[in-house]
Each structure stands twice: as structure tokens, then as C-alpha cells.
């Protein structure tokens, strides 16, 4: 188990390094540089060049890349051109919103999938199963930002149970959580639909396996056999898909943060791209892509922990 984990972690580091290189290179291709944007279109070429030199924008590619990586590993993410302040605390504040939001949404999705997916697989072919499959089709088709708007309409405008947007900060944890409820629901909707379908199909397959017959022959109830024998066997594909979904969860967060005007990473990226605040964009993109790669590695490790056959590979 340990050697498997070690191997996966090495691949992880390599992938992260490769990813950072790609991100950095991609943003080099962007036309216009930060100096131009900051000074505006009417600035003279000399002023632009001077500012560019001051910001270190005229250094060679390799040197800039290395100084970025080096700084990042020390916790120094550089200086934002637009805000003229250190990036690290800036991102930190945004992360305090985006991370809980994403986690909350994933929790909702997992909860729905485990209840609805198991229920549907258990009552396969009957009305309960068909109803759940129908709902999941709807969940896949409804755009998450529209769902968010509808949620605001119902629970913030019609019935004033939750705020329609904004984030009060973590000083008041209860209010902060309240502000995240509707966004997490909107964000988690699609994931819930996908995971429910995957859970159901993986579980149906596991329920048809021979070891289920053995379990029943031992005298186990159908319910116990399902939870103790079928579900662990259904887990690996469910986890894999959940991991793959993480990246679309991140993308969804960007949109949802706009719907609910949450001061998170999504909005920051958005604004920074327009401001040509390149360093912020690079840091943010890595911060978003990084967890995706991390989560996928984590999923692989957990799957190997559950299924001993994967470790032997």
C-alpha cells in the first residue's frame, strides 16, 4: 500500500510541475502585457517599457518561471499589479470562500447520491427507481446558474430564508454558512445527478455478482448484504467519477460565485484576466488546477485502499 502511495505521489509532483509550466507558458502567449493595461492605451511606448522593466517583465522566460516557482514554494506568490498588494493574502481571503463552498457542494452531492442512488439500485425497475432516474435526468439538464437564480427567487425573494448573495465573512459563522447554502445547492445539483446515476449503475452491477448470493446464503439480510458487500465493490468506479467531476465542480464554482456575488477565487480570476493581472491569474489557475490533480491522486489512493487488487498493479 505504501509503495503504491509513494508512486502516486511522485507522479503527482511531476504532474503539478508540468501543469505549472503549461500555465505559465500559456499566459505568455497572451497579447498585451500588464504594463500596457495598467497605463492605458494612451501611454507612450517608453513609459510602458520603463514600467515593464520595473516589474521585471522583460526578463527571459526561464528566469521568470523559476522565480515564480521559487517564490511560490516559499509562500510568496508575488505582487498583484492591479491591487498593488501581495497576492498570497489576497488569494487566501478568496479561498476562504471558494473552498468551503466547493466542499459543501460535494457533501450535498455525495449525500444525495448515497441515498437516492442506493435506493434506486435496490428497487431497480420499480417506480422508485424510475422516478429517481427521471429526476437525475432533469438535474443533468438544468444549468446550475439558472438553478441558482431560481433558488434565489424562491428562498431569498419570495421567502426570505436565505440571503440572495454576498458573503458576510467568517466572523459570524452561522451567517456565513447561511450565505453558502443556496450557492452550494446550485453548485451541487449537477454533481448530485451524475453521482446518483453512477452510484445506481455501479451498485446494480455489484448486486448481480456471485458473492452477493454467497452473502445471502450465509443468512445476511438484503440490506446488510448491500451495504457490507455490494457497496464497497461499487465504490471504485463511483470514486473515480467523483474525482473526475471535481474539475467541473471548480468550473461551476466560477459561475456560481458570479450568480451569488461571492468574493471567491472564481470572481478573482475573472477580474484578473480582464486586468491582465497575469501573476494573479497564474497563481489562481494553479490553485484551481492543483487541487484537481491532488483530488484525482487522492481518489486513486483511496480506491487502492479499498480494493487490494489495484495495489498489485
Amino acid at each position: 500500500m505504501l509503495s503504491y502511495a509513494a508512486r502516486r505521489l511522485t507522479i503527482l509532483v511531476a504532474t503539478l510541475g508540468f501543469a505549472s509550466l503549461i500555465v505559465f507558458a500559456a499566459l505568455e502567449v497572451l497579447p498585451g502585457n500588464a504594463a500596457e493595461t495598467m497605463l492605458g492605451a494612451s501611454a507612450t511606448p517608453e513609459t510602458v517599457a520603463a514600467l515593464a522593466h520595473k516589474l521585471g517583465l522583460d526578463q527571459p522566460f526561464g528566469a521568470r518561471y523559476l522565480s515564480w516557482i521559487g517564490g511560490a514554494l516559499h509562500g510568496d506568490l508575488g505582487q498583484s499589479y492591479a491591487y498593488n498588494s501581495p497576492i498570497a493574502p489576497l488569494i487566501g481571503a478568496k479561498l476562504a470562500v471558494t473552498l468551503p463552498l466547493t466542499a459543501f457542494a460535494m457533501l450535498i452531492a455525495a449525500g444525495v447520491a448515497l441515498t437516492a442512488g442506493v435506493y434506486a439500485a435496490d428497487r431497480r425497475g420499480k417506480s422508485g427507481d424510475l422516478a429517481i432516474m427521471g429526476f437525475s435526468q432533469l438535474g443533468l439538464a438544468i444549468p446550475n446558474f439558472w438553478f441558482g437564480i431560481l433558488l434565489v427567487l424562491t428562498f431569498a425573494v419570495r421567502w426570505r430564508l436565505f440571503p440572495s448573495g454576498g458573503f458576510p465573512g467568517w466572523g459570524d459563522p452561522l451567517a456565513a454558512l447561511k450565505a453558502l447554502v443556496l450557492p452550494a445547492l446550485a453548485l451541487g445539483l449537477v454533481q448530485a445527478a451524475i453521482l446518483t446515476r453512477v452510484t445506481r449503475s455501479a451498485l446494480v452491477e455489484a448486486l448481480g455478482e456471485d458473492f452477493m448470493r454467497t452473502a445471502r446464503a450465509k443468512g445476511l439480510t438484503r440490506r446488510r448484504a448491500l451495504w457490507r458487500h455490494a457497496l464497497p465493490n461499487a465504490a471504485p468506479p463511483i470514486l473515480t467519477i467523483a474525482g473526475l467531476q471535481f474539475s467541473s465542480l471548480i468550473a461551476g464554482a466560477v459561475v456560481i460565485e458570479n450568480v451569488f456575488v461571492l468574493p471567491g477565487l472564481g470572481r478573482l480570476i475573472f477580474q484578473s484576466i480582464s486586468n491582465r493581472d497575469v501573476l494573479v491569474v497564474e497563481d489562481c489557475v494553479m490553485l484551481l488546477a492543483g487541487p484537481v490533480i491532488l483530488v484525482n491522486t487522492g481518489v486513486d489512493i483511496v480506491a487502492a485502499a479499498i480494493d487490494p487488487r489495484l495495489r498489485a498493479a
Binding site: 455478482e209 456471485d210 458473492f211 448470493r213 454467497t214 452473502a215 445471502r216 446464503a217 450465509k218 443468512g219 445476511l220 439480510t221 458487500h229 464497497p232 465493490n233 479499498i306 480494493d307 487490494p308 487488487r309 498489485a312
Partner: protein, 321 residues
């Protein structure tokens, strides 16, 4: 009488209606005895076995009686049946390669019925599991108990299945084609193991197989089934030795013989197993000795020794006309 099945009729729900897969089968097993049920695929032997365990698919209808130690278990509530399964009656299936949960250690799987029915703690059940693994003649039982199923061979896995079946000291073990998926050399060992375990603990065995040789060697009595109905039953020497029923004769004749003359065609039974009639004798379509009267229910001709043959062609004195 440990197990007494009386005129068992089983109807299964199939797409397009209902199919009668078992038609009035009766059998009896005393404590400590072994009964073999032999027949082709589709003869209803596996369904009969599943019916005893109460593991029929949803939508199955059962009529007739299945009495186990005096109780009618055919119509027993599921919660009561569960207490018997794995405890008083257990079952071994055909495919050892897929019958074990790949994610759970072997020892834990053997321990499971003990924890379920006897309420043993993890530690106690674990020790008992190791003892069981030793009892089924597996080498290095401690190491094996910690291993996962994928590390074991087919023969080893089937021994594990036997260990699981024996865990709570059942009175009856049903073995459904336990050796069909195994190598020939391993088959004999597994069956001998079952026989010796049965002898030492007074266990009754219901052995389901399509292999006459297996039944002949390891069972005292045999029931021959075709098309969901019983054709002949009785002591193995009588049924297979005298071979009165046309179907039994055909089965025996169809076996290829080592050392037989070359170039001689195998004596196959003409027709397909699915062409079983639903009224009268099930074998009538393929029987070389069929008479018009066979389309009505054939009589049960009882000879001495509890040997019963269901064929109009057999006289009460045991002659085939």
C-alpha cells in the same frame, strides 16, 4: 427425516408469463445421509436446491411442502428463514472464482456466519475461522485467513466456501455443482473432503450435479430429474446399477468410455433438453420407448429398498418392458 420435500411445484416469472420449472418433485434425506440430484441443464435441479434455501428469484411461486426438521420452510417468513440460512442449512455454489467478495479478507468472510448467527466477537470468530480453514485441509491457515481471495486458486477458494458452509455446524449442506468449475484432479479431493466432513460430523449432503460419476462415487441415494420432474430415485447401486428408467439408461449410455472401440458414435440422446413436455411424462418427446399413454401422468412404480421409477414400462417386479 431431516429434509422432506413433498410434491414441490415451482413457477418462475419469465418475460411473457409464467414458466413451471419444477413439477411435483419429492425427495427425502435422513440426517447424515447424502443424496445426489442428477440431471441435464434445465432439469430444475438447481432451482430445487435454491428453493430449499429460500433463495428463489423474485416472483417465484412455490407450492407443495419443504419440511426441514419437521418445519415447513417453503412458506416460512423471510426473517425466520434467515436464521436457518448459513446456520442450520448452508449452500456451496458452482463458481468458486466469483463466489467470494474480492475486497474482504478470507478469514473475515469465513468468520461472517459465526458473527451473524453465534454473536461471536471479531477476535473469537477470527480464531474459529482459522480452525475451520485448517479443517478443510488448507495449508498455513493463519496466513490464508489474512489473504484476499484473488491470491487463492480455484480449489483453495472452494475449500474456503466449504469452510464458510460448515462454520455454524449445519445439519444440511447443499452443494450445487461444487466441482464443475475445477480441474479434474482437484474435483476428487474436494468431494472426498466433503464426504469425510460429513462422516465425522453427521452432516447431511444434498449434492446437485450433472456428472453421474461424481454422484455414483459420493452419494448413497440419487434422484434423477428431467424437465423439472423426477424420473427415478433410490439407492445409487439400484438406480445406476439396474438402470430401469429409459432416461437413466440413456444417461448412462451417453458417457464416453475410455478404452472403448474407436470410430463408434457416442450414444447421444436425440432432441434438445428444452423440449420437455408440460403434461404427462417430461421425457416423452425424446424417449425411445414412449407410448401414447405416456402423455398422461406416469405411475410411480415402487420397488424394494425405496427405489421408485416413474415409467409405465417398468413392472412392479423391476422389469423393463
Amino acid at each position: 427425516m431431516l429434509l422432506d420435500i413433498d410434491n414441490l411445484i415451482i413457477d418462475l416469472a419469465v418475460p411473457g408469463g409464467v414458466k413451471r420449472v419444477v413439477r411435483g418433485v419429492s425427495l427425502a434425506i435422513e440426517a447424515g445421509q447424502s443424496l445426489g440430484v442428477v440431471g441435464e441443464s434445465g432439469s430444475g435441479k438447481t432451482i430445487t436446491a435454491l428453493a430449499v434455501m429460500g433463495l428463489l428469484p423474485e416472483g417465484a411461486k412455490v407450492s407443495g411442502a419443504i419440511r426441514f426438521a419437521g418445519r415447513d420452510i417453503a412458506r416460512l417468513a423471510e426473517s425466520e428463514m434467515r436464521k436457518l440460512r448459513g446456520d442450520r442449512i448452508s449452500m456451496i455454489f458452482q463458481e468458486p472464482m466469483t463466489a467470494l467478495n474480492p475486497l474482504i479478507r478470507v478469514g473475515d468472510q469465513v468468520a461472517e456466519p459465526l458473527r451473524l448467527h453465534r454473536g461471536l466477537s471479531r477476535a473469537q470468530a477470527g480464531e474459529a475461522a482459522v480452525r475451520l480453514l485448517a479443517r478443510v485441509q488448507l495449508r498455513d491457515p493463519e496466513r490464508l485467513a489474512r489473504a484476499y481471495p484473488f491470491a487463492l486458486s480455484g480449489g483453495e477458494r472452494q475449500r474456503v466456501m466449504i469452510a464458510i458452509a460448515l462454520a455454524c455446524g449445519p445439519q444440511l449442506v447443499i452443494a450445487d455443482e461444487p466441482t464443475t468449475a475445477l480441474d479434474v484432479t482437484v474435483q476428487a479431493k474436494i468431494l472426498d473432503l466433503l464426504a469425510s466432513l460429513s462422516a465425522e460430523s453427521g452432516l447431511a449432503i444434498l449434492l446437485v450435479s450433472h456428472d453421474l460419476a461424481v454422484i455414483a462415487r459420493h452419494c448413497r441415494r440419487v434422484l434423477v430429474m428431467y424437465g423439472g420432474a423426477a424420473m427415478e430415485e433410490g439407492p445409487v447401486e439400484a438406480v445406476l446399477g439396474k438402470a430401469l428408467h429409459p432416461y437413466t439408461r440413456a444417461l448412462l449410455a451417453a458417457r464416453p468410455k475410455l478404452g472403448g472401440p474407436r470410430g463408434v458414435r457416442l450414444a447421444a440422446i436425440p432432441g434438445q433438453a428444452t423440449a420437455a413436455a408440460s403434461e404427462g411424462c417430461a421425457f416423452v418427446e425424446r424417449c425411445p420407448l414412449a407410448l401414447p399413454v405416456c402423455r398422461r401422468e406416469p405411475p410411480a412404480v415402487t420397488l424394494e429398498d425405496g427405489h421408485v421409477v416413474r415409467c409405465v414400462r417398468v413392472t412392479p417386479q423391476g422389469q423393463l418392458t
